[in-house]
């Protein structure tokens, strides 16, 4: 199987600072690749280079079989870009937005209209087709934005933080649409700050830090590397902290200021039950016990050995 996106040793500098410093990527056609990293890791720079919006300083990249530097017009006919901000035009109706993009992708008026109707149907927006986009909800607007990327059934779709700022229900809707277009054969390169988003959508996750790939693999591979979910116990007095640490095991992290101890657990609910009763047996009355997914900071701490904000 060929690669829909291929990058070798990409380099990009802004002034003295390297945004990408030898970035490699290979995304097999028809799959979803999640680019994960904190703000400033180089995710957006990578996407902008691959979408022909930025010139690269070194290395080479191919998208849909075309070189991004030498064959940009061919690349543009094969890709769609969906950025962090909504490019939906508020004053136009949903349908007018799609017809406009159809015309700019050089469909005839008639073709653009019928493609717009198809997409509105597919993205569940038929009822709102003639409403101005300013009256759309956040989720509808995101779907309209996505739909406008599908005018030409792109072979590669770049999604730059598609659900940043959306509530959980709308995030779910966007995820469903992305899965649907992948089923139709589109390759997706997704950047995100959310681990669970990459987990939901991606076949392969690539973790970026300071312009370089620091880890990659399937979501399961990365999760086992990170130790999966964490349990967090908050107590009332500092004397209880060592007791809790003993119960949680040798890898437990103690935050003395927050009276908080946390540790990775593999078996979630079973671990919760086990730890609750062990604490009760030792006479510790916890203020709060919670299971939670590792945060991106913890992912970075685990993979790179430093916290995301300590890079600069």
């Amino acid at each position: 199987m060929g690669h829909a996106v291929l990058a070798e040793g990409l380099r990009k500098r802004y002034d003295k600072k390297a945004a990408l410093d030898g970035f490699d990527l290979a995304v097999p056609a028809g799959t979803v690749c999640g680019l994960l990293g904190p703000n400033g890791a180089g995710k957006t720079t990578a996407v902008r280079i691959l979408a022909t919006l930025l010139r690269l300083d070194g290395g080479r990249a191919e998208v849909a079989g075309f070189d991004v530097a030498r064959e940009a017009p061919q690349v543009r006919r094969q890709v769609a870009l969906n950025g962090q901000q909504s490019t939906v035009d508020d004053v136009l109706t949903g349908k007018e937005n799609l017809v406009m993009w159809g015309r700019l992708y050089h469909l005839s008026r008639r073709q653009a209209e019928s493609r717009a109707d198809e997409l509105l149907e597919q993205f569940g927006l038929t009822d709102a087709a003639d409403k101005r986009a300013k009256h759309y909800s956040g989720g509808m607007r995101r779907r309209l934005d996505l739909a406008s990327s599908f005018i030409m059934r792109p072979s590669v779709l770049f999604l730059d933080e598609p659900t940043t700022g959306l509530d959980p229900r709308n995030r779910g809707e966007v995820w469903r649409e992305v899965k649907r277009v992948v089923a139709e054969g589109t390759t997706v390169l997704l950047t995100t700050q959310y681990l669970d988003e990459a987990d939901q959508l991606a076949d392969q996750i690539v973790v970026l830090d300071t312009g370089r790939v620091v880890a990659q693999g399937t979501p399961d591979q990365l999760k086992s590397k990170l130790g999966g979910d964490r349990i967090e116990v908050v107590v009332r007095t500092s004397e209880e902290l060592p007791v809790v640490r003993d119960v949680l095991g040798p890898d437990a992290e103690v935050d003395p200021d927050g009276f908080r101890v946390s540790a990775a657990v593999a078996d979630r609910v079973a671990a919760l039950t086990r730890i609750t009763s062990a604490l009760a047996a030792k006479g510790v009355e916890a203020e709060d016990i919670a299971l939670r997914r590792p945060t991106l900071d913890e992912v970075f701490l685990a993979i790179t050995g430093h916290k995301a904000e300590e890079r600069a």
């Binding site: 022909t52 993009w101 700019l104």
Partner: protein, 262 residues
Amino acid sequence: MSAVRFAVVDSWVVAKRDLIHWLREPVRVFANLAYPIISVLIFGLVFGSAMNVFGGGDYIEFLLPGMFGQTIAFGVGTTLMMVSMDADRGVTDRFRASPMSQTGVVAGRSIADLVNSSLELLVLALCGLVIGWSFHDGLFNALLAFALFLWLRFALVWIGIYLGLLVKPEAAQASWMFLFPLTMFANTFVSPELMPGWLRVVAEWNPLSSTVAAARELFGNPGVGGDSWAAQHSLLLAVLWPALFVAIFWPLSVLKYRNLSR
């Protein structure tokens, strides 16, 4: 050949988007028109009786070409705002990542802005006719005068595009602070001859003054002439100043647009 056809189609699609905005958000159109109309009333009817035109003549007759000029000059603020908003919202990036012709983006902008300014001139002219302004040298010369205003507007589109790609929308909003005095340190409201020496030179050489003076001449309105070379060659300068702006800012805009990919 299809490249040319697509450039035309793309320009029209982009222009249409802006024109639909004007039609659907009449508040913006009114806001844009309200200022010049209110100004015509304030300066023409309130201050008018106290104003003197250097060399004599009716102040409202003198004022209207100045108002046309100020309206045209304010247009640069509109272009600037629209361009910087598109860039800020990622619309410009979507355009650039699509197969559409790059000429279409800017040509569409020019068409929309020129249509919009033509409408403003028309409304202002009707308003002027009501309160006593008129043109006296025939319809052809009058249309020629309006053509000069639109020629200046076209040049300002390029300045607007260049600056719009340079600044954020918040900064674009502040452009009014500079535009306002720039349109007043000119022959728009008061004859430069009545200003102190240094300001008079600024006002006489202000490119806006050349277009306004040329228009006064073509309309047959008072306040024409003056001792300076600029004032005596206003018709020539009304053609040359905008040509100079286009010559400078067209390539700069193209360069800036390309450098977005740096």
